[in-house]
Amino acid sequence: MNSAVKVNNVYKSFKKGKTEVKALQEISFEVNKGELFGLIGPDGAGKTTLFRILTTLMLANKGEAWVDGFEVVSQYKEIRKRVGYMPGRFSLYQDLTVEENLSFFATLFNTSLQENYDLIKSIYQQIEPFKKRRAGALSGGMKQKLALSCALIHRPTVLFLDEPTTGVDAVSRKEFWELLHQLQAHGITIIVSTPYMDEASLCDRVALMQESRIMEINSPKGITENFKKPLWSVRSADMYKLMLDLRSGDVVDTCYPFGQYHHVVFKKDPHTVEEAKQAIATISAKDLEVQRIPATIEDCFMELMRK
């Protein structure tokens, strides 16, 4: 079997009082061995539930799934020996030191820090100076690295990371993704979830998730190339007014604020920047800065949500 993870038509719902809340519907995908696969979607899309099913912590109502060739229900013990899992919350013992946490998780998986030292060396070296410190006293970035070391200590074949970069500052976030790429070089399959669209481009392939469904699976490049409409970025002095104007007239199809610019799709696509400027000038400001731009993952995500 060549795929590290195979999910076939998984369905999961929860009872919340009297109503049934659908957490996952028609989830099917495959992750190849050694791939860095991203589940991209907002909170509540079903990412954590999917992770819990794959790590044998929950049972799906329908459908089947395999991790590293083992079936998640009947062969859960085999899977538990093989996967590494980092839950969304910081899930280490705050009152144990860095060192104690590591050796605890090592024995939990019948291994030792030395045995797989080559794998976690580059991560561990960064936290080693604080090995006598209690985990609760570490900063966010350091906690993240400790949690990753603990999840890697038994050299898992598949690593599940549930929103590892939530609540971490940009520098630590960048370092964390660099670490993931290093791990990939060791042959570990990594499945990572994140609500941050900009992280999608750091994955080999991503699944865009929204409201319990996967909307699209592709490489980041493939996804942005699938955005067929011509996209423009527009800027003027009064961005709020510009947005209201653009949305009210019937010149543009969609207009979304993207930080310093608005991303605009015209109903009738202009051929040049000048044409675009003129089209906007008929309904709004004249001091415009207009540019043709390629779509981002976020543009694609929003386009998919509209469907």
């Binding site: 940009a170 520098v171 929204q210 709020y240 007014k241 979304y256 604020p257 995500f301």
Partner: protein
């Protein structure tokens, strides 16, 4: 004091023992501006914001918030600011109506005002069918929009937003920023702390704290130009990498 400044901070410093958490920061925030307040973990962001909200006293320096002096009028400041954090804003086990009532009561709104506010909000956020449901039953995006509206309940002069839009889908997120734009357009000053750089891009101006000091302050476009960086993320990383305090 300049009337155009909602927040005016000069040499503001906070020491804890020998540790200087906030080191003589000076900046102004214009009225109606959306001001991004960034910094790495441990850079002093939270400490600085607590001082601006009147929750902790500075060791030295001056600050005027919404026209009030930080030392003498901390209580008046609290009446004129709103606060929303992603971690906590609304009581999950109260209904939407009850939450609005509660916060309205805290800020001294009359029953009539509370009622009309509730109606307005329900209408504005399309919550007609949910108004008597518990807040915890709402999707995250709605919760965030609702908590922003609740923070704006008493028409504060300044609203402080602490990492407001983490984890929501891109469409809801834009709806949220549209609300922020709207508030700013009506003259409310918006002060956003976040460590998500794409949120920073929405701000009129952005300051970046490193080791307790404000190391950069400008519009996102200008900062990107100055640091020759394609994104705010890159700007931030260039600055934060110089930090000595780092996060240990």
């Amino acid at each position: 004091m300049n009337d155009d400044h909602a927040i005016s901070v000069s040499q503001l410093t906070k020491r804890f023992g020998s540790f200087t958490a906030v080191d003589a920061i000076t900046f102004n925030v214009k009225r109606g501006e959306i001001f991004g307040f960034l910094g790495a973990n441990g850079a002093g962001k939270t400490t600085a914001m607590r001082m601006l909200c009147g929750l902790s006293f500075p060791t030295s320096g001056q600050a005027t918030i919404a026209g009030f002096d930080l030392y003498r009028d901390a209580e008046k400041i609290k009446k004129n600011i709103g606060y929303m954090s992603q971690k906590f804003s609304l009581y999950e086990d109260l209904t939407i109506r009850e939450n609005i009532r509660f916060y309205g009561g805290i800020y001294g709104l009359t029953d009539k005002q509370i009622k009309s506010k509730t109606d307005f909000m329900v209408d504005h956020l399309h919550l007609e069918n949910q108004v008597d449901n518990l807040v915890k039953s709402l999707p995250l995006g709605w919760k965030q929009k609702l908590s922003f509206s609740v923070a704006m309940l008493h028409h504060p002069k300044i609203v402080f937003l602490d990492e407001p839009t983490g984890g929501v889908d891109p469409v809801t997120r834009r709806e949220f920023w549209t609300m922020i734009y709207e508030a700013a357009h009506e003259g409310t000053t918006v002060f956003v702390t976040t460590h998500y750089m794409d949120e920073a891009e929405y701000c009129d101006r952005v300051s970046i704290m490193v080791d307790g000091r404000v190391d950069a302050l400008d519009t996102p476009l200008e900062l990107k130009r100055k640091f020759n960086a394609p994104s705010m993320e890159e700007v931030f990383i260039q600055l934060a990498r110089k930090a000595k305090r780092s996060d240990n």
